[in-house]
């Protein structure tokens, strides 16, 4: 009987720890996200995201920024959204950094700045974010935001390709098959990435 009571006490303690340790802001954020995606209630979701954003919760700030950027549930104000993303990017918030890099690259909502885009992508690539690794490799090949350098681009493309990025795998196949960008033809490399692309390795 003592064993049973001990087990009950332990279960209650575990439950209290789980509930107490839960991120209340995250739960409120998830509720707002469900409101937005399930009920398509943009306005109500935007109000909830704004409340959480005021409390300094980064995912809600990013979401609110997106809604401001596209004018969903709130008035469209890309410049406000961009400044929100810039603040978040300064805090190393991955989604905001990646989105902001895309804005800089395309010049959407902000003046086109390929160097700023490259720097943001490079920052994310170093953290191990695969799509950013591909972007860094591609920009180094195209000479966007940095001087063209195929030798430096290949390692980034390989990192992205190893992370399963299909575009990077296709790019490497084409480079090694045709011997592009001053890289000599290498059939074994091309074959290797072809196998990776179809998921055999």
């Amino acid at each position: 009987m003592t064993g049973v009571w001990r087990l009950i006490r332990l279960s209650v303690l575990c439950l209290a720890l789980i509930l107490g340790g839960c991120d209340r802001q995250r739960l409120a954020y998830n509720r707002a996200l469900a409101l937005y995606h399930q009920q398509n209630n943009d306005t109500a979701a935007a109000v909830q995201f704004a409340t959480l954003a005021q409390q300094g919760y980064p995912p809600a700030q990013f979401r609110l920024g997106l809604m401001e950027f596209y004018g969903l549930g709130v008035a469209q104000q890309p410049s406000v959204a961009i400044s929100r993303f810039q603040k978040l990017a300064a805090q190393n918030h991955l989604p905001a950094s990646y989105f902001l890099a895309g804005c800089y690259l395309e010049g959407v909502g902000i003046k086109k700045d390929e160097t700023a885009a490259f720097q943001l992508y490079l920052q994310l690539a170093r953290l191990g974010f695969v799509p950013a690794q591909y972007r860094v490799g591609l920009m180094q090949i195209q000479g966007k935001g940095i001087d063209p350098n195929a030798q430096q681009a290949i390692p980034w493309l390989k990192k992205a390709a190893k992370g399963g990025h299909h575009q990077a795998q296709k790019k490497l196949i084409s480079i090694y098959t045709k011997g592009l960008l001053g890289i000599p033809k290498d059939n074994s490399q091309a074959q290797y990435w072809r196998h990776r692309l179809v998921g055999r390795r």
Binding site: I18, L19, C22, R26, Y29, N30, H37, L94, F99
Partner: protein, 204 residues
């Protein structure tokens, strides 16, 4: 033993039919609620909720798609395949002679619910990891779109793959058998004592 084996063979089609035609509809809403609540509390960093849409269950994640962050990741939740443990347990319990069948059936069925929720959570954790890491595994389809999250380490992803295999391949079979053994522990102890006595008699 032969009687038990024959009993399982005869009863299994009946219990599976009961599960397929009746029990699935009864148990799925309860399992859905339990799994939804558990996933929302325990995997709050990526789980928004488990939804029911058009006869199917989906996990709504908070993972934003890299190329369109307004879109978030959806994962299909195959609750049905996890509930196959129920008929297996019932066949085993009903075929066991000299046992408290009613008590075992009720408590066994109740005990399976949290175990199935655990299977669902393990499966969902793998699916979240798969969505983030995008590394093909087993029969899972190759994904093409990335989500805005840093990939899990290889060790963590490996653990998730083990969890997925446990949830899909091991636990649905092993959990009813373990429960059945637990309910018939005394019978197994008797068998063991008899075997030991038999071995001793043989050696002397």
């Amino acid at each position: 033993m032969l009687r038990f084996a024959l009993g399982v063979l005869l009863l299994a089609p009946l219990t599976f039919a009961f599960w397929w035609w009746l029990w699935m509809d009864i148990s799925l809403p309860l399992l859905w609620r339990m799994a939804d609540l558990s996933a929302r509390w325990l995997q709050a960093s990526h789980v928004v909720e488990i939804q029911y849409q058009g006869g199917k269950y989906f996990l709504l994640t908070s993972l934003e798609a890299a190329e369109n962050p307004l879109q978030i990741g959806l994962i299909s939740v195959p609750f049905q395949r996890f509930t196959a443990s129920f008929p297996l347990l019932w066949a085993l319990l009903l075929a066991t002679p000299r046992s408290e069948r009613f008590f075992n059936m009720v408590f066994g069925t109740m005990a399976l619910f949290p175990i199935i929720v655990l299977m669902v959570l393990l499966y969902l954790q793998f699916q979240i990891g798969y969505l983030i890491n995008q590394q093909s595994f087993g029969t899972e389809p190759i994904l093409t779109g990335y989500y805005l999250a840093l990939p899990y380490s290889q060790n963590a992803y490996y653990a998730m793959r083990v969890g997925r295999n446990m949830a899909l391949l091991v636990l649905p079979m092993a959990s009813p058998m373990l429960l059945w053994m637990l309910f018939n522990l005394n019978h197994f102890r008797t068998l063991q004592t008899e075997q030991t006595a038999h071995d001793k008699a043989n050696t002397s």
